[in-house]
Structure formats: structure tokens, C-alpha cells
Symmetry: D2
Subunit: 315 residues, 4 copies
């Protein structure tokens, strides 16, 4: 049983905390939105009114926050963990997706205050967080990872140790760039088929069994009604917000700039998603599979009422 | 036992014929290159010196040819099957990948001469053809498909009936456009990771277990040495030639033009592969995964000697 | 003074006829839409109820039609010019923008019936047609061009002889692909500046005097209100329809396919315009500069009332 | 007559200094490469062994440096101008192309030490610097610009005041993104024409007089031999280095990220240039028009010996 401080209780963080509680750990929680804390307190978490309070009496701090700037503020800010807490001997696990350079700077800061840190961004989405089947992609030393492993195993199934500090973020970013390409590409292929008379469900079946198989067509189908469990069949609610995908694609492109790599499809996908975000501000808060309607305009109301729409329309 | 005429004995056609012979069928074979016929004759196929000779005494004609123009010449040309053979009651199965419009025209021609036809392009690659695990993507009537099914099952495992004449081609083209996107996208993601210090094998493992999972990273890894069975580990030999992928991407873009669909990632991938073909003419005859070297220059000699290259290079 | 039959009286054809009449030629006119003929008859053109009637008693036939299929039907169809008219000694000038292969087929047909032909697509837009300042881009023999030159000079200012039959179309297509890139690129650059606080008019001035100078920023500014004479300042009316630009971009991509050329920016532009066409069917009939609103949503009503909009909006 | 300290004596800075000397100013110069200073000393410039020495006794400091990091080090570093010089009353003119955020931070720093600053990046290239026909794109207050104007007019012809601090950089970046699009697009259009049989010079003429007209086809033709004065006709020497264009495209994309703008063509161009840089490290130091060979492989040796190459080649 570990004493854990957990900061960041969004769609991902909250179910991760639930799994930690269920595994028997003592979990102090904090989020700027109080309404996110209450349901977890009901399950046994210990409420905290400040980040400091949530981390004062723990062995392990886990952060699951929406941007690198916020993560750095929480650790390095004037009232942040490094500057207000006796950090000696602590283990910091940052599960946020942030820039590798930020991860390296944070790890160096942790060393300076006598603590250890790993970057451990996750893959698997909200469903994986709930089921406890997340994949952790870890950068840092093997020794630190071994200390973190038991707790990570309470929240996920697979743990990849991919290199030194920052490497977890790099691998996550490469993977998520690929995810963006898969989503935009699958939406494009489905729309091409439907505009040429195919049923989107039948075409999805063909692709799943052929060389076009990919995570999106298998488990995140963007066409409303094809997969009853996908966000597309629920009005594009839940899932992975378009705005967050854009953040990750931007991180990938920044990495490509600093390493002088070429990312033509990742960049094309980024700009297609950005165009879709510009077209209607509400798209930003919906699941990224809303990009389907860029290729084949479908109103969400229609999509919910009339699944598996297949009539060609538009110009 | 069926009497079959089989035209087109390339990397795909030859192993398909082998599986038909093994299943006990009588197979007459023809190809413009005599050297492709001899090994199959040794296995029991009946040699023919002309397409007419190969199809004169059969119930079923199967074609596996490299372009729509050639398929149409073989069936509709002045000395083609429709004009020189008594076609009444015959079953034509075209397994080539061609434009849906060509498939529809051929099916109409078959009807005029009293025959039946399906378009049945395949997915699964050379490996699938050898193992008899191809996927057939069929357009045409259900009745005709039922007549063809026993023979198709001798060459493949899955059969999708996706719609009327031409629909098989449409679905194949959509799938292969996706394949091109997967290949270019995976090559791009791996190069981004390696230029930022990751091992390509480790990053591939992460992607296979995460939201970036796709057919290419799973079974066609473009990085030399990561998967010993992939063409990339064999000097980019075997597999699916870049020139043939370009043909399929061009078909997809033509379909997008005629149906007024948008295919930004498919088009971007097409142009990247075309740029790679322009850079070195020998790329056209290599497996499409050679596109990896567009993002991360690796000489093929190096790639064979020194698998799992991982040092960043280039600018 | 020449006797001319003129087929196709749209935005371009009508003012071209006016200039021919003004130059003193006898012009027989035809269009499927009778309402397009009346105003020209008022100016002195001779009305015809069929293409045959318009071309029966002339020395020169000029065609200005919207697609290759229509041009070929007019010349080669069962009731077309080649099959119903005594063509010996006639001069055919096709000013339509069509595929080079179609142009070559038509020229060969003209030769067969004893006539001469050039492909002479134009650049300069509606304004150039009205002012008589069109540029003609001519493919065919020098001798034929010399016969056509006096008439062309009545409609335009510059005449380029770029090669054999079809070469005029090829050059036109390359130029128009560039135009599409200029339009999409300028719209993108302006939106980037405005979202970062610049005034679109000031940024346009900078670009016009710098290395970003181009025809679009100079004479076709896509931002409403920057240039009072541009279609963008008139509700995107007039100008060059998005639907026609898409036709030309598709021709360029077809040429790239058949010649194995890479056209990454032309393809990207084509797909951006296509996405914009899918987003709202009315875009297809508007000037291509409507693509500005893909990058920076502006309602047309607003754009007309409130020129030089500059407040950032959208996400 | 002003006393000027000038830091950065590369292809642009050196001729700018020459024009200042010619106008009668006293110019103290510094560059980390001593060999760049000697020729200017011969013309009357005053040599300095450190930046501090070059700026100690002046009224105006002009910087023309290759990156934002270097500019910030020169002004803000521990031994930088702000920290080692009495800056009260000085005028700082930064002509480098850097990120707008960097420009704003520098201007704030200048205010803190009692000086004034403008960002004044230039357009016009090496030719413009030599001829004294540069365009200055200025961000900052009108009063500060008026103080700088006489000196700017000694180096350039046009001065655009585009907004507050940083706005000069924003406009420059938007313009240079457009330049990259023009270069890649023109190279693509020329290659498409040549592969379809056109002469590159004739096609360039057509485009210059048509709707495809742009700065690149007019004054920076990328096809060897078409314009004897363009870098392409001189082995791609001189001009604007591919590596510097990539830097500017990366700045544009960063601005798009922070302002949530879509830059699909700018991003596509960036990745094409990056691919070309990866293909051969020497490309980075050549004029950006070397991108022509990505579309149509031409060896530089050939291009110099045999201008106006026009035979189609490659696959």
C-alpha cells in the first residue's frame, strides 16, 4: 500500500484514481474544479484544497494534467512542489502528454531537490483508464521505473520502457501523430467509398480484414452507427477531444522542427483537424472522429437518429 | 473439380495457380512471359501459347493482370475472349485491381456474350497468395458469387460481397489508399522517433500496442531489421511494388475526382511515393516500404548488413 | 472580315463575341441557353438554333465550352460538326480548357475531315475577356496559328505558341494549377497574419512589394474589402468559379498521373477547394477566392457590409 | 551622419553596411567570423573585436543575425548589450527574422534599459541588399520608426509600418511562408509541363503573363538556364539558402500553432523542402530553388553546362 498524491482529475485522471483506490492505496486528490473531487471522495479518496495539501504526506506524486505549461507550474512554480515541499526520497510520475524538453527539465529539477521522476504518458483512452488497461510509455532510469511499476500496474496492463527522461513523451507523441493520421485517413477512405456507393459498415469490415486495418477502423470508427460503441455513434461525445489531438499533433510538429525531421502526413492531418476546428468552434470539444463530417457533412442530430447513414450528399 | 483458364502469372497469380492445382482443379495457364509458365507446368498446370488456347476448354476464366488497359484488351480486344470464344455459360473472375468503371464495362460485355462476371480483387499480398489466405472483395450478383465461391475458397480465406459490379474494385481502391497512408505515415512516425533518439523496434512495439496500431507496423515494418520477415529486412525485395501502389493510389484519386470526394492524405501519400520514385528509378520495382528512406536515408546495402539501424543521420 | 461560328456564350464566350463583332466580323452564335443569345443578337450577332446552323456558312469555328466531354460531343458526336458539315478548308479554334489528350484527338479528327485546328485556351479571366486583353496559349502548327492570329488579336493581347497540338492545354493546365496554389496560399497567409493581429490590407501591401508577390494578392485579393474590385469585395460573385477551378486542378492531376509527375501542392490545393465545396454546395458557384472563408470564417453578408474585416474569430 | 554599431556581416549584413558607409555614416562592425570584417574595414568600417566594442560609442545598433536565440543572446545574455552597456537613449533596429514573441520580449527589455527598439526584418534578398532596394517591414511605435527612417532609407527603398512590436516579424513570416509556397509551387508546375513536353522557358513566359504570375517565376526561376541571373543558372549558388527558408517556414508554423491558424500549403512546402534537405545534406546550403531537382532530378554539373534542360527523364 502506497501513499499517493494525485493531481488532475479529468476524464483520464478520475478513473485512474478509482483503480488506485480499488487496489488499496491511500490517495490524496486535487483538482482546480472541486466538483471533480467529490465523487472520488465518496469512493474513499482524501480531499485536498491545494496541490500542496495533496502531496504533503505521500511517497508518490502522480500528475495527469492538460499541458506542459501547467505541469511545469505545478512542479516548478513559486508555490510549486519543488519549491514548497521537502521532496527528498519522493517519486514523481508525470502521466501528462507534454513536450520531451519539458519532461527533461522537470526530471532535472526533481534530481536537484533529491527526488526521482519518470515521464509516463499513457495510451488507451478513457476506456483504458476505466478498465485499468492503459499502456504506460516510460522515460527515465530503470531503477525509478521499478519503484513505480507496482502502482502503474494497478492502472494499466502494458508498460514500455523506451529510454531516458523525455523518451516516454517522444514515443507518445510519435504514436499520437500516427493516431491522427489513422483517424483522418480512415474518415477519408470511408467517405470515398460511400460517395461511390459503398455501405460504410461493409467497407469498414473489408478494411479491418485487409491491409488497411488500423486501430481507428477497428475500435474508433468515425462513421455514425457503424460501431455502436464508438463516440461517432453517440453524437461524438466522450473519447479523445479534437482540441487535445491538436495539442499532440502540434507537439509532434515541434519535435520534427527541432530534430529536422519531415512529417508531411502528420502536418497535413494537423491542418485538416485545425480547419475543422475553425469551421465550428464546438468541434474542438468533441471526439476527434468528428473529422468525418469534414469529408461528408452529417449533422450530429441526424447521426444519432439515423445510424449508418449512407446516402451520398453535398456537392 | 473445375476446368479453369488462368491468365497472368506474376507474383500473385503464380501462387494462386499453385493453390488451385493443389485443390485438384484442371488449370490451363498463360502469360506473355514463357518463363513464368514453366514452373507451374512442372506442378501440373497445362501450358497454353495464347490466351485463347488457355480459355478454349474451360468453365471458369480467372484474370490477374497488372492494369485495366490490359484486362480490357484481354477480354474486349479484337482477338480478345469476348470476340473469339463462345462465352455462353462461362464464369469470368477478374482478380486484377482496375478502375470501377472498367469493371462495370467488362461485366456488361460479359452479359452481352452470355457469360457471367464478378470483380474480385484481392488483399493479403504475396504472402496471402502463397498461404491461400487472400481476402476477396467481390462486386457482382450474389448468384454469380455463389458459383465462384468454391474456387475462391481454394485461394483465400475471407470473401466480402460488397455490392454490384465495380463495387469490389471501389472497396479495394479505398482499402489500398488506406494502405498507402499507413505505410507513409508509419515510416514518418518511425523516422521522427529515431531522429529524437528512440530505437525503431521499441517505438514499433509501443505503436503496435497503442492507438497507432495498424497493419503496416504490425506486419510490414518499413525499418530494416525490426521485423526479420518484412521486405525492409530483405533489401526491400518481394512485397508490394512501389509502382503498383502508385497505380492504386492513382485509381483512388480518379475515383475521388469523379465522385467529387476529398482525399487529402491519399493525395499527399501518392505524391510522396511519386517523389521517391523520381529520386531513383530502381525504387519503383522495390517494395513500397522503401519509402522509409525518403524520411531517413539508409542505403540498402547497409540495411541488409546492419539491421535495426538507429543512429540519426542526414541533416 | 471573317465569317465566324461561335459556340458557347458563357461568362467568357459572350464578351469574346462582343469584341469580334466590334472588330467587324460576321458572327453566328449558338448556346444551349437561348437567353444567352438574345443580348448578343441585339449587338449584331446572327442567331442560330443549332450548332450546325451556326457553323454552316463560316470560315472559322470558335468553341468556348465548359468540359472536354462537351467539346468532343460538339465536334465528334453523331450530329457533331465533323459528321454533319463539309469541313474542308475550315479553321477550328478551341478556346475551352480540356485535357491535352482530348485536344490531340480533336486535332486528328479535324485533319481527317480536311480542316485545321488549334487548341487556344485563354488566361485573363472575365475581365480580360471584356477588355479584349486575354492571353491565348496555343498548341498546333505555326501555319494554322498564323491563319488564326488576326481573329485572336481581336479578342486578346498576348499569343503564346507553346508547341504542337495539346501543348496549349498542357501549358494552360500548368498555369491554372499554379493559380489554384496562389489563391489557396494567399488566403492562408492572410488568415495567418490576421489571426496574429495584422490588418489584411497592410499585409497584402507588404506581400505585393516583397518576395510573396503574386497575381492573386495583386489582382484577385481574397479578403473582402481589401481590393474593391475583387470578387471578394462583391460577395464572391463574378470571377472564376470554384467549380471550374476544381475541373482544371483535376486535369492537372490527371496529367501528373499520366506523366508520372509529382504535384504535392497542386493536389493539396485541389483537396482544400474540394473540402470547401463539400462544406457548402453554394461555394461551387462562387469565385474561387471564397476559399478565404475556409481559413477564416466570414459570412458573405458581413463581408459586403463591413469591408476589411480584421478581428480574429473562430477557435 | 549617425554613429552605428552593426552586428552580423553575412550575405545580407555586409552589403547593408556598405550602403551605410557610402551614405556617410560611421559604422562600427562585428561578426564572429573575422574574415567577414576585413573587406568592410577596407571600405571604411571600424573594426571591433567584441559586440560590446562595436556598440560602445554609437547612437544606433543594427543587428542582422541568423536566429532568434542568437539575437536574444546578443541583447539579453550575461555579457549582452542590455547588461553591459549604458543603453539610455539608444535606438536598436533588429533586421533579423525571428519569432514575434522574441521581438516583443526584446522590445520590452529595451524599454527597461531606457532605449527604443523596432523589429525591421527585410525582404528583397541579397540583390536587394546590394542595390539598396530592400523592403523593411517594421513593428514598433511610429516615433521610433521616424528616428530610424533616415538610416533605413540608406539601405532600402520601401518601408512598411505594419503594427506594434513583433508585427514586423509576423508580416515577414507570413510573406516568407508565401515565398516558400511560390517556390515549391512554381518548381512543381514547371516540372509538370516539362514532363508533358513543354519547354521550361516557354512555360515560364506563359505563367509570367497569366494568372500564375508570381515573384519566383518572374525573378527567381528555379529551372537552370531559363533566367541567366537566377541562382538556378549558377549552380544554385547565392540567393536564399534552403536552410534559412526552412527556419522561416518553421517560424510560420509556430505562429500558426500559437494562433490556431491552419497553414496546409505552408506546412506541405516546409516538409517538401525538409525532405529535400534530408536527401542530400549539401542542399541545405544552396539556394532554395534547388527544390526543382526534387521534382525533376538534374545534376548541378549538368545544369551549369547545359542550360535550359528540357528532356524528360527519371521514371
Amino acid at each position: 500500500v502506497a501513499k499517493i498524491g494525485f493531481l488532475g482529475l479529468g476524464n483520464m485522471g478520475a478513473p485512474m484514481v478509482e483503480n488506485l483506490i480499488e487496489a488499496g492505496h491511500i490517495v490524496h486528490i486535487y483538482d482546480v474544479l472541486p466538483e471533480l473531487r467529490a465523487p472520488l471522495v465518496a469512493l474513499g479518496a482524501i480531499d485536498a484544497l491545494t496541490p500542496l495539501e495533496a502531496t504533503r504526506d505521500v511517497d508518490i506524486v502522480i500528475t495527469m494534467l492538460p499541458s506542459g505549461a501547467i505541469v511545469r507550474q505545478v512542479y516548478e512554480g513559486p508555490t510549486g512542489i519543488f519549491n514548497t515541499l521537502d521532496c527528498r526520497g519522493l517519486l514523481f510520475i508525470d502521466c501528462s502528454t507534454i513536450a520531451p524538453d519539458d519532461a527533461r527539465a522537470l526530471a532535472a529539477g526533481a534530481t536537484r531537490v533529491g527526488a526521482e521522476m519518470i515521464d509516463a504518458p499513457v495510451s488507451g483512452g478513457v476506456r483504458g483508464a476505466i478498465d485499468g488497461t492503459l499502456t504506460f510509455i516510460v522515460g527515465g532510469s530503470s531503477q525509478t521505473l521499478e519503484k513505480a511499476r507496482p502502482v502503474l500496474e494497478n492502472m494499466g496492463r502494458a508498460i514500455f520502457h523506451v529510454g531516458e527522461h523525455g523518451a516516454g513523451q517522444t514515443a507518445k507523441i510519435c504514436n499520437n501523430m500516427m493516431t491522427g493520421i489513422l483517424m483522418a485517413g480512415t474518415a477519408e477512405a470511408l467517405a470515398l467509398g460511400v460517395r461511390n456507393g459503398l455501405d460504410p459498415g461493409v467497407l469498414s469490415d473489408v478494411m479491418r480484414k485487409s491491409t488497411g486495418a488500423n486501430f481507428v477502423v477497428e475500435r474508433w470508427n468515425p462513421w455514425p452507427g457503424v460501431d455502436q460503441n464508438s463516440p461517432a455513434s453517440k453524437g461524438y461525445a466522450g473519447g479523445f477531444k479534437l482540441g487535445l489531438l491538436l495539442k499532440d499533433l502540434d507537439l509532434a510538429i515541434q519535435s520534427a522542427q527541432s530534430s529536422k525531421a519531415a512529417v508531411p502526413l502528420g502536418s497535413a492531418a494537423r491542418n485538416l483537424f485545425q480547419i475543422h476546428a475553425l469551421g465550428a468552434v464546438e468541434n474542438v470539444g468533441m471526439d476527434m472522429s468528428i473529422v468525418q463530417s469534414l469529408y461528408y457533412p452529417i449533422s450530429i442530430a441526424e447521426s444519432v437518429q439515423q445510424p449508418a447513414l449512407m446516402l451520398p450528399r453535398g456537392n
